[in-house]
Amino acid sequence: MVFTFILVPLVMASLMPLIGKISKKFLPDILTNITLLFLLIYSITIGRQIISSGTGIRQLVWLGQQLNITLALDGFSLLMLFLISLVSFAVGLYCINYMEHYGSKAVFYALFLLMIAGMNGLVLATDLFSIYVFLEVAAVASYALVAFGLGYDELEASFKYLMLSAVATAFILVSIALIFGFTDSLRLHDVALAFQLLNAKYLVGLCVTLFIFGFGLKAAIVPFHAWLPDAHPSAPAPISAMLSGVLIKISGIYAITRIFLNVFGLNPAISTVLMYLGVISILVGAIIAFSQNDIKRMLAYSSISQIGYIILGIGLGTPLGILGGLFHLFNHGIFKSLLFLNSGAVEQATGTRALDKMGGLAKRMPITAATSVVGSLSIAGVPPLNGFWSKLIIIIALVQAKAYGFAIVAVLASGITLWYYLIIQRQAFFGKLNETWNNVKEAPFWMSASMIILALICIAIGILFPIIIKSWLVPATNVLSAGVYYTINLFRF
């Protein structure tokens, strides 16, 4: 039953404070991780069913009565669910050690699970307003999680994040109200059908712009990105990993993609705007990342740059471009969380995030160093790791569509990416050991375990990418490239 994806984390989250009264750390750790593992396994098993039997639109039955909860699980949302559960599982393991000294673990886990529930709900929703509501669930949880350390930086970042998001969601709602006013319904199917009948290109243009502002701010597309380099570095490392790895993709890119491609239909104007936004994000992110000294801030800017790749691929709109974009989205979710977890391990061990104070940590923290090399090479697109293939697909798609200018920028920026990741590696992990860190220790067991898992996934996807593409990405791409007709034909209920 698809509703499990929302219900289980929601119920667990509501129980968490009570559990926290019984046992401060042990039970919350165990229960949260069991929940996350359950979600991961469930998403894989249900995935097989979906792939074999096609899209599943589920209407909920409760106590023998039909409830009016309609959830849609198709290739695209399945991919997202899988990504959410995979990353959150790894992050959950990491939290066991990392969140020790923050206190109130139970509340932390409750917020963490609520964020997952919100994202799962967003992915499964079939109604514009439901998308908004679950977006807010995830967002409110994330504001609190960013500020969880209660330090000055955390609060400042969280406040700016909240204030910018509040404006963004207001614009989303205005757009929803407009659509409601003109089509008299908010279900994706009705809206798509109505827009086909109306053929109102100016209305679409207006709504698209408002959505780009709203969801684009969530996805941190330049120029709506300014909160990200504050919020992501300030948050506790596992939350940075969740935000950069998953949240910006679900609440930003998933929503944009679903609405633009499957509801409005991608016309050349939207496509052009998205592609330009993508390229600007790639460049701005890469250039600023280059001159950062704070390791997490560098990672945050690099997220902006990589988001640009995804938007560029999806905005292109050809099946290959969408495939590349989604594949990059998936890969980025994994290696960026890995890198943030690495940075967290380093920060916990050394107490600093400044690159110029580190040096030679590979000798003291071999696991962290090795996994971060894997992550860096992946994100920089070095074959045969996963990042290489997804960037390659995007670039091939650009060349095929004769968008040579975009392709050149994409290649150049990936060069810059490689460059600054080499800087991270050289300054933090290799080179001469800074004597301050002579008695630094390797990260604790669960942290190392979760980093190793993610690094192995990076390598495995790199080698087995044809299988991943075939089993997970092609169904998702089919959903998106079918465009409006997919929603009109299949979301009928």
Binding site: S104, V137, D184
Partner: protein
């Protein structure tokens, strides 16, 4: 006509809420604006939304604001620049003109799809058609509560 007047009042009190120096007065202006909004809702047959607007927004949120203002006790120490208040009317009028112009051209070009009006009462609609939103509401409430708990907890160690 009365509708327009009410709307104008709403806008005026909103402007007051923004421009008034005294935070307490500003908060109260906001509450009054809420009440006007609620009246507008009533007149549009949106009774339940109106009740919510009065009880929650004009009531609960105002209480929250006032208690925050009381907790921080710092109304005086942030000087807002006066230029802002002086420039506001100019920008506002400019905006209104653009607004009217854009709305006219935009709305005239758009067509509307009409579906038959839904039957049943409000409760049926809320429970029958927006059930998922209710689940979402529960989630949001939990998130808000936990967020407040998390932000007002006592730090164990590592306090800056």
């Amino acid at each position: 006509m009365i509708q327009t007047l009410l709307l104008t009042a709403l806008v005026i009190f909103s402007i007051l809420a923004v421009l008034l120096r005294d935070l307490l007065k500003a908060a109260i202006s906001l509450a009054i604006a809420s009440i006007f909004l609620a009246i507008i809702f009533f007149r549009m047959n949106a009774t339940y939304a109106g009740v919510f607007e009065i009880s929650v927004v004009a009531g609960l949120i105002t209480v929250l604001f006032v208690s925050t203002i009381a907790l921080t006790k710092s109304d005086g120490d942030v000087r807002e620049s006066k230029v802002v208040s002086i420039l506001f009317p100019i920008f506002f009028v400019l905006f209104i003109i653009i607004d009217i112009f854009v709305m006219k051209t935009l709305l005239n070009r758009l067509m509307v799809v009409r579906y038959p009006a839904p039957t049943g009462n409000f409760g049926q609609v809320l429970w029958g058609q927006r059930t998922l939103d209710l689940v979402g509401q529960i989630g949001v409430i939990f998130a808000g509560v936990f967020a407040v708990i998390a932000l007002f907890r006592k730090r164990d160690k590592k306090d800056e």
